[in-house]
């Protein structure tokens, strides 16, 4: 049984560019949450998707947007990248309350 998968593993972008990160949830899970983790910090909640709708959102600007597909996979899009967006982006999937994380995508903005 494959766990949560994310792609790509690493990404380098320039300020002002746009990026799309992808996530496939654990088999049987229908809810996907996205988190941003800066170096030395705990993950910060970005938003959560359920039934292809954004259900909850954290304190992140509108530059951060997402999507969930009918097969429950999800994308995170970030527009107009800033240097401060450099972080590990984590996807977590859940069926009830326990969230299982993927390996993350390391985004570096130069």
């Amino acid at each position: 049984d494959a766990g949560v998968t994310q792609s790509p593993t690493h990404l380098i972008k320039t300020r002002g560019q746009q990026v799309t990160l992808r996530c496939s949830p654990k088999s049987g899970h229908d809810t996907v949450s996205w988190y941003q983790q800066a170096l030395g910090q705990g993950p910060q909640f970005i938003f959560q998707y359920y039934e292809e709708e954004e259900r909850q959102r954290g304190n992140f600007p509108d530059r951060f947007s997402g999507h969930q597909f009918p097969n429950y996979s999800s994308e995170l899009n970030v527009n107009a990248l800033l240097l401060g967006d450099s972080a590990l982006y984590l996807c977590a999937s859940s069926l009830n309350y326990e969230q299982y994380f993927g390996p993350g995508t390391r985004l570096t903005v130069t």
Partner: protein
């Protein structure tokens, strides 16, 4: 404001030297406290969920406990492979959300 504080920030132990990590939380309407293990550059690995004060969970050398204000992760006779950052998170809060609020973690190093 909902908040999670973990201590100590870093902990160095000799192999076999038992210790505890602390997670203090402030949240209205706790609906779960979660412990994760995170290796450098990787995603958090789920360890335990605790729901009510007095609850305890165990897995190998790890035991998690919960009170109304804090949780402890007890590590008995640790081995070098237990070296990692241990993250605590809570679910709950005023708006009854599903989001997890994380602490900044305790970085554990176990030396042979």
């Amino acid at each position: 404001e909902d908040q999670v504080t973990q201590s100590p920030e870093a902990l160095r132990l000799q192999e076999g030297e038992s210790s505890s990590l602390n997670c203090s939380y402030t949240v209205s309407g706790l609906r779960g406290l979660f412990w994760y293990r995170q290796d450098p550059g990787k995603g958090p690995e789920f360890l335990f969920t605790l729901y009510s004060a007095g609850e305890e969970k165990e897995k190998e050398r790890l035991k998690a406990t919960l009170t109304k204000k804090e949780s402890f992760l007890h590590i008995t006779a640790p081995k070098p492979e237990d070296s990692a950052t241990y993250l605590c998170a809570v679910r709950g809060g005023r708006y009854n959300t599903d989001k997890l609020i994380f602490g900044t973690g305790t970085r554990l190093q176990v030396f042979p």
